[in-house]
Amino acid sequence: SAVISQKPSRDICQRGTSLTIQCQVDSQVTMMFWYRQQPGQSLTLIATANQGSEATYESGFVIDKFPISRPNLTFSTLTVSNMSPEDSSIYLCSVLLSRRTDTQYFGPGTRLTVL
């Protein structure tokens, strides 16, 4: 497995502002993903973070709202832009270590509350 850290672990933000969440892995990984987990719900994939190119977004998620960067094989950021209370969720990054295994490992999550 891999050691995955996220910063911040939690934050309380005002509506209309933006927050950037960082995900750092202790080893190079093939793929990185960002998920959202709304209160009391399951996990929903936001996008696949592609190294050196634009992220691939799932239906219902757009780059203007959730810009993603992945400058190298161990780091990615997710920005939640122009936040509203509906964006209050846990945001999780996950990694796929290699294409030879399908197991995704998750970071500890960032708990975001928007007032």
Binding site: S1, L43, E58, L92, D102, T103, F106
Partner: protein, 112 residues
């Protein structure tokens, strides 16, 4: 407090009993399945996985059963302990995609 699992189905078991958590998956083309455990305030933790060419796989105190005919997955936990209290999610994946699709989750409560 943590809101994960607040509105999810709940399974309550007594310490020492066996637990069975069920999951219906959606895509008949899915060929890889994973069970995750999510404790309060933490990210999902890998428990066990199974591929579609198997119908049973065992780990330490856990067994996953796969019934492809009815698209059903179950997680059995033997001798359930208080530390097993968490929300459990199944996830499915297809060979030609790296995307995981998560089930709704089940909250497991273990009481003494």
């Amino acid at each position: 407090g943590e809101s994960v699992g607040l509105h999810l189905p709940t399974l309550s078991v007594q310490e020492g009993d066996n637990s069975i958590i069920n999951c219906a998956y959606s895509n008949s083309a899915s060929d890889y399945f994973i069970w995750y455990k999510q404790e309060s305030g933490k990210g999902p933790q890998f428990i066990i996985d199974i591929r579609s060419n198997m119908d049973k796989r065992q780990g330490q105190r856990v067994t996953v059963l796969l019934n492809k005919t009815v698209k059903h997955l179950s997680l059995q936990i033997a001798a359930t302990q208080p530390g097993d209290s968490a929300v459990y999610f199944c996830a499915e994946n297809s060979y030609n995609t790296d995307k995981l699709i998560f089930g709704t989750g089940t909250r497991l409560q273990v009481f003494p």
